[in-house]
């Protein structure tokens, strides 16, 4: 059984269908990259999975427990969210808390963990993202890349079952993107389960073991990373990869051999 399963997620804004019907299942230790053009519904999918947007329909199953993405009790949503982590495009660090407090807040305030213990975990998480020396800085005093790394430390600190990344590097310049991607690569090597909505094809190629292409609210192609990039099955995948100007290491082939 998969660790996390999103089934038949649907979401419209007014009359506009953003997610038509998407199902994804994720195994423990998977790094799933979700690619797709802007407006394809990938961010919305992630927000629905974190109960930040209300889906019109669909369910999420985490560790065998199924929750309705459209309706959920207040108790269940808090319980569910305490098992996931979320990293945002715009970092969203708590502006009134230092780097360390950002990481420990979820432990002490939400999970009522002992302060000392939370601090130990928090420092460990900051060390993992290489920001131990910035622990007492407020977010406004950190660079974008540093803020995002603190946000990642905040997401991993409670040891969630899965971490959702919503375009974690889209707000960063190339240099800062690199430092964030390196941290994420390290998490992947540690076996942390991640779903990453991204425009970083390079990252998807190098780090993800599975890749999903979403367009117009449906999954176009879902494959292991090698197949996706070297032998994509769908014409639309080939078109997408061409548009992103990604330089494949092998020749692009489809099942039918059409290029």
């Amino acid at each position: 059984m998969s660790m996390l399963e999103l089934s038949h997620v649907k979401k419209s804004f007014k009359e506009n269908p953003v997610i038509r019907d998407i199902s994804i299942s994720v195994e423990q230790g998977d790094v799933v990259a979700v690619l797709g053009p802007s407006g394809s519904g990938k961010t919305t999918l992630l927000r629905c999975a974190g109960y930040l947007s209300q889906a019109d329909g669909g369910t999420v199953t985490l560790d065998g427990e199924t929750f309705d993405l459209h309706r959920i009790s207040k108790r269940d949503v808090v319980r569910y969210r305490r098992k996931i982590g979320f990293v945002f495009q715009s970092f969203n660090l708590f502006g009134n808390k230092t780097a360390l407090q950002n990481v420990t807040a979820g432990l002490t305030i939400a999970r009522k963990m002992d302060k000392k213990e939370a601090e130990r975990i928090g420092l460990e998480a900051l060390e993992k993202v290489g920001l131990l020396d910035r622990k007492d800085y407020y977010p406004s005093k950190l660079s974008g890349g540093q803020q995002q790394r603190v946000a990642i430390a905040r997401a991993i600190a409670p040891n969630p079952r899965v971490i959702f990344f919503d375009e974690p590097t889209s707000a960063l310049d190339p240099e800062l993107t690199e430092e964030v991607l390196n941290v994420m690569k390290k998490l992947a090597e540690d076996g942390i389960t991640m779903i990453v909505v991204t425009h970083e094809i390079e990252f998807a190629r190098r780090v993800a073991n599975r890749v999903i292409l979403v367009e117009d609210g449906v999954i176009v192609e879902e494959n292991d990373a090698d197949t996706f990039f070297i032998h994509p099955r769908q014409k639309r995948t080939i078109d997408f990869l061409r548009r992103t100007k990604w330089k494949p290491e092998g020749e692009l082939l489809s099942d039918e051999g059409v290029i």
């Binding site: 974190g50 109960y51 930040l52 207040k74 808090v78 969210r81 305490r82 996931i84 982590g85 979320f86 945002f88 715009s90 969203n92 660090l93 708590f94 502006g95 009134n96 808390k97 807040a105 979820g106 305030i109 939400a110 999970r111 407020y138 406004s140 946000a151 905040r154 997401a155 409670p158």
Partner: protein, 220 residues
Amino acid sequence: MTERIFHELVDAFPKLLLPAIKVTIPLTLLSFSIGLLIALTTALVQVAKIPVLRKAARFYVWIIRCTPMIVQLFVVYFGLPSIGIRLASFPAAVLVFSISVGAYCSETIRAAIESVSSGQMDAAYCSGFTFSQAMFHIIIPQACSTAFPPLSNSLIGLVKDTSLAYSVALVEILASAQRIAARTYDYFWLYLEAAVVYLIICSFLTVLQRRGEKALEARR
């Protein structure tokens, strides 16, 4: 200004300062504290979108903001006794001013809360916070620095509005000046002196506001 008037004003000054300390300042502080609690509750009820209470909150703000405070004072002090509720001047004034501060400041607080980026709430939720944990630990602390200047405005406004309590027989600064002037007929000078007492109190609050803003600034 003749020497006689000068001496009279010097004599009168402590007689205006005393009601300031004994009446105006306690009335202001008490009303403002109670008012802020009402304001916070009223704002939270609206932000949390609690069905019936939210409508009630809108209704309350509407009624209080759209009627003059002096009319509210009259209703409470002269009107309520006719249905058997008798309040002395001071509690009547505290009641009216608290309710008034509550209505105006609830809008300030609501706007300040709504000005905090929605990403902060998203992040709090994804850190496992409940709505009220997110509000009290993340959103409200950040809304404070936005709300602080307009709330200071309301406090300074209230100091001066307490002079309306003169109309419900409360002997505060203005009433004291009026009483002294009634004996000497130097209305012009005594009312000016009363104005100076208000000016002193409000200037002090203005300085406090500056310091408060700096302190809030340093915390981010």
